[in-house]
Symmetry: C2
């Protein structure tokens, strides 16, 4: 039969990164595309032990049974402690909602705030998924200019006035895709603007623990005394993305609304995943695990930077992030990275075209490279292949 | 600050069953409210073994890593075999999408098909969650009359013509809340109407394996040659609800759209949950497990029926289902079960008011009783308490 799909499906295409995923099953492929943790950075031993212990404990019956939408109470409690690391204090479990990965926090924020035709502001470029999610709400994102240290607050203020956004979506710490880390002064200014204009900030923070250089900067949420900030974080990058678990912290009124919406989607996040994350946090495995994985990421970033210097054309400029998983680079104007994408895939190297990260503007000369997932040898070889391709322009 | 929530949040209240959940943490409470499997019916030993094996296998790296939105391929494959039990044949993995519990299948169907103001048809009474989910899409459900053997097909045809629904939501096998099992002739008639009027059927089937009496009836999807039927099932009731895993089977075009929407919500279902469900299915544990749990459920249903006979007022009439988890009952007109609800909770017994299951009509004299979750002693004692309360009308 002919299907009469909803309006939101018109023009909804697969998120570019998820599309590239399909090619990654090819074992020959060197992927600089996804944001996958390194295989060595997956705490298999710890999770194996935690799982074995859990299945022997009588709490397993509660874990395998239906749970509450808000989340597994032990994990809500340990999440309250966890976010103190980002300076977030003075909250209780009613300020938390356990989510099925950080992305669900974005989806629920959209569901709770956006009507069809509403708009939000994002830094340009921004996390690709937020642009995809917005389409499912028939809402629009406007891009705000970005400087070397993050979103341009003058442009932000001008666009808040112009567009009256429902919220401002930001990844202030090692932002995806650029890896920028906003200084404290900028974070304060952004919050000041949000309060002044009565706007929500959705602070998405999946990367702040993956800091291998620079100074710690507290989260925008930690500065929030008015309830303007929704703070969204994930256990994907520090424990495991495959188990889909994160936490959202916000004003209790917002959390209560999000719970109503989550009830209507997946009822609750896998309680097995929640119990494992809780065991990981309570067992104080995090610091030891970070101590193990951060040198790996730091070394891989440096290696990729060196390979870029060695192999990429001289007009290629790229970021040098102190954390996160990505290097973002650009060629001189006139180069369209998507023209070389298929050739790169044929040569068994995947990257993400920068254009997909932009809400506004037609910026075609950028690309994002993930350095965390590949072996050292793959980084060297993959960048050499890309260098050869782009040198032939 | 004052929050400017989206229109869909207006009047969105907690689903009655999820609200009752909060009271269930009281260990004294006898709950006939949720649809929870019995503790003894949770395959803890099997899952424990599967989990231990999985963590020792090299496939664990893939499980803990980001996976594809479509689902963990081994589970998509074993799900193709699984649905053959309900007569669904001739499909391949592209007809399947792994979902974070059966409820996500309803949510994704709504997302793919419904615009604000659209409507669907449901049997009256119907599964409470579908009414809640609909509100998040600002869509409306119209109730169709129900007979002793399921939805009234004359009323269904009349209402298809009148309302032009985007889809018809049905739980044809041991439907929640009434436990009715539609005969094959009715299933054929419903499909015929859907094809005639170009309507989608969302066949929600979480209970067909929980059959302890009567005859097997094949699913509506098994009769579908035109792609009109979306078939939604869950591993919650036969493996574990806490791990949130189910499968949706539909025309490839619909599945492709659902994948786009799922990308924008939780990226993918916990791969750990998926791998455990796959292990359970491939290990051929299902038949043995059903052999163990069905006599428990059958005996509990009989026990509850006997207790009802013994303790409930004589005007209370109830169903005698051959499967599923619920008995649905009604008092004579004039009794409003919600008037007695708080008193029952105070007396430490929880049930669900029938009114919450109705899309149309003001039916106040019904209630739903779950028989699977309580101990035998609790069933006897709980029904006695309810009997005492309702006898005082």
């Amino acid at each position: 039969m002919e299907f009469d799909f909803s309006d939101r499906m018109k023009g909804l295409k697969a998120n570019a990164i998820r599309e590239i995923f399909k090619y990654l099953s090819d074992p020959q492929m060197i992927s600089f595309a996804g944001g996958m943790p390194n295989k060595e950075a997956l705490p298999v031993e710890i999770l194996s032990e935690l799982s074995e212990k859990l299945f022997k404990d009588k709490s397993i019956y509660g874990v395998l049974q239906y749970g509450s939408t808000e989340g597994y109470m032990p994990l809500r409690q340990s999440s309250v402690d966890f976010v103190k690391r980002m300076g977030i204090d003075g909250i209780d479990t009613d300020n938390t909602l356990i989510i099925t990965g950080g992305q669900q926090g974005i989806d629920l924020t959209c569901k709770v705030f956006l009507n069809k035709g509403d708009c939000i502001l994002v830094e340009d470029p921004t996390y690709i998924a937020v642009l995809h999610i917005l389409k499912t709400y028939e809402a629009k994102a406007y891009g705000v200019k970005s400087n070397h240290d993050g979103i341009d607050t003058d442009d932000l203020e001008a666009k808040i006035k112009k567009y009256k956004p429902k919220f401002i979506y930001l990844v202030p710490t090692f932002g995806n895709p650029t890896g920028k880390n906003y200084p404290l002064s900028k974070r304060k200014k952004i919050l000041e603007l949000a309060v002044k204009y009565g706007t929500i900030i959705l602070e998405d923070d999946s990367y702040s623990h993956l800091r291998f250089g620079g100074e710690y900067v507290q989260s925008i949420k930690s500065l929030d005394t008015t309830g303007n900030v929704i703070y969204n974080t994930s256990y994907s990058k520090i424990i495991s993305p495959g188990i889909r678990c994160g936490v959202c912290v916000a004003d209790k009124e917002i959390i209560a609304k999000m719970i109503l919406c989550k009830q209507a989607t997946d009822v609750h996040t896998s309680a097995l995943s929640q119990a494992l994350c809780d065991g990981f946090l309570r067992g104080n495995y995090l610091d030891g695990h970070l101590k193990k994985i951060l040198p790996i990421y730091s070394s891989k970033k440096s290696l990729m930077r060196e390979a870029i210097k060695k192999y990429m054309p001289t007009d290629f400029e790229c970021t040098n992030p102190d954390g996160g998983l990505f290097i973002f680079g650009s060629f001189k104007e006139g180069t369209d990275t998507s023209d070389y994408f298929v050739r790169a895939l044929q040569s068994k190297v995947a990257y993400v075209n920068g254009i997909d990260f932009y809400a506004s503007g037609d910026v075609r000369n950028t690309l994002r490279l993930n350095f965390s997932n590949s072996t050292d040898e793959q980084i060297e070889r993959g960048i050499k292949i890309l260098g050869d391709i782009f040198k032939e322009r």
